[in-house]
Amino acid sequence: MPVKKPKTKKKSTNKKFVPNIVAFACNWCSYAGADTAGVNRIQHSPNFRIIRTMCSGRVTPAFILKALKLGADGVLVSGCHFGDCHYIFGNYKAVDQFEKTKELVKTLGLDEKRIRLEWISAAEGPRWAQVINEFTEQITALGPSPLNHKPKFNK
């Protein structure tokens, strides 16, 4: 579970939008990559919930759409680099499915930048942290999803 930031004493008046991000990470590379980031104590933005799947190829359009339907502001799908997939061609399948999802998301009128596909290996802890930070920034800039009925704001 992501650790909550300790509340700062100074109360600023301008509210800042805090995104809800769902990150699907494959068991063999990206989930371990996230672990590496944690073990190495690399500071990164805590606004994501990670869901482990056996392979990025398992992440069908339905997974991403369900997350968006439930109010996620952004969805990250992450798997092994090409050639590294534990199931050999799972991540090629992931690309196909992700392209399909992107089209659906565009037709739904959501910004396609709300979903993102990345390849992160088990050794790439710093890269995991970097991707998460970048993506959080990107989603913060986009603002709350129109399907997010209770956007969170930090005081």
Binding site: L68, L108, L147
Partner: protein, 380 residues
């Protein structure tokens, strides 16, 4: 809960059931899956109050195709019975196995959110003339989503159905309204018993249609037609527009359409919603026969007796569905026709699914939509 179910059984007149079993003997699902039987489903509801029924996964398999109601001697409205029991089951958190992981159910759900601003009209090219306000409205339905999801895998373009519908209307001198903010009609949610979501979608759609000032709504999807024509009035009282399936429009205007000769032997799949639900059998046949060169061959199961394409509501698609589809395709091929025409985009998707995959033994009959066929024959 028990009273709830009893009340619902009463409404669908299931209490009159004679247990003759005619429903089970015609049901396309029972034909391939002998653990499914509408007669048993009715009996279970009557004798045990529906408790078991609610947790039965087969509850979600019924295609609501109404073939059984066609045969029932005492007019048990089985599809409505299914809808109501499903509503009860849904309220208790039970659900079937959605196809495609539930993709389309999630889309329907998202579309009921009033904040959404879709971008769904990208298919309108320069050759097509549409308006934002006017007498005639074309209700596109889920075709843009099907295009995104199915076009690549099934090697056909669902959105071409929308394009060809506008082409036909333009040919008739009609510039239809196409709505930017159109939502899913909610057909599947209705038959799955999710009436709250259905009503939400319906309210948005009716408001949008009213704003365009349309007097006639045309659609190329039998499900949309059924919803707009019958189910919205049933839920919201009367609506102030007429609804026509494109087959009706074409049949009414045969004199105004000029066709090239095309050599083709075709047979026709009556979609359940167009046929048994709305009683439109003749119009698509007349329209096709008016195209010179077309030889029309009828399948043994046709019109009132037509067999469903095997899946509805994106629910419980399984080997039984594939067997239904396969046997239907064989039936079509056996007529000697080289093309099976459907008037419902979903029928075509389901049949194409049964034929896809490298290792599948293919029946090998061409599939096309009624609209595509008519548009391809138009002169000029």
């Amino acid at each position: 809960m028990m009273e709830n179910v009893a009340e619902k059984i009463k409404k669908s007149s299931a209490f009159y059931c004679l247990e003759c079993g005619k429903c089970t003997s015609v049901c396309p699902i029972s034909r391939f899956n002998n653990s499914y039987s509408p007669r048993r489903m009715v009996a279970e509801g009557l004798f045990y109050g529906g408790n078991e029924l609610i947790s039965d996964n087969l509850l979600w398999s019924c295609l609501t195709c109404q073939l059984c109601s066609q045969r029932c001697p005492v007019d048990v409205r089985y599809s409505e019975y299914m809808r109501d029991i499903r509503a009860e089951a849904y309220s208790q958190g039970k659900w079937g196995n959605p196809s495609h992981g539930g993709t389309f159910h999630y889309i329907m759900d998202m579309l009921s959110s009033p904040n959404l601003k879709q971008s769904r009209t990208g298919w309108i090219n320069d050759n097509l003339k549409v308006k934002t306000k006017g007498e005639v409205l074309y209700f596109v339905g889920c075709l843009p989503y099907y295009e995104n999801y199915f076009a690549k895998d099934f090697d056909f373009s669902p959105i071409s159905i929308a394009q060809d519908t506008v082409k036909i209307l333009n040919y008739l001198g009609i510039e239809p309204v196409v709505m930017d903010n159109e939502r899913c009609c909610g057909h599947d949610l209705y038959w799955l018993g999710q009436l709250r979501q259905f009503d939400e979608l319906g309210q948005i759609n009716l408001k949008e249609i009213e704003q365009t000032g349309a007097k006639t709504v045309v659609t190329a999807c039998p499900e949309c037609a059924l919803v707009l024509k019958k189910l919205y009035p049933e839920r919201f009282g009367s609506v102030n527009f007429k609804v026509k399936h494109i087959a009706e429009v074409v049949a009414e205007n045969i004199g105004k359409l000029k066709f090239n000769t095309i050599d083709m032997e075709v047979t026709f799949q009556d979609p359940c919603r167009l046929g048994r639900h709305m009683g439109i059998y003749q119009q698509p046949r007349e329209a096709m026969l008016s195209i010179p060169g077309i030889k029309f061959l009828e399948m043994p199961h046709n019109k009132q007796g037509a067999i469903c394409c095997g899946t509805t509501n994106w629910m419980n698609c399984d080997t039984t569905s594939k067997q239904i589809q396969n046997s239907r395709l064989i039936e079509a091929k056996d007529t000697g026709a080289n093309t099976l025409v459907t008037a419902c985009p979903k029928c075509q998707i389901h049949f194409r699914c049964a034929e896809c995959g490298e290792e599948t033994e293919k029946v090998g009959i061409k599939l096309t939509d009624f609209v595509n066929l008519v548009a391809s024959a138009l002169t000029g």
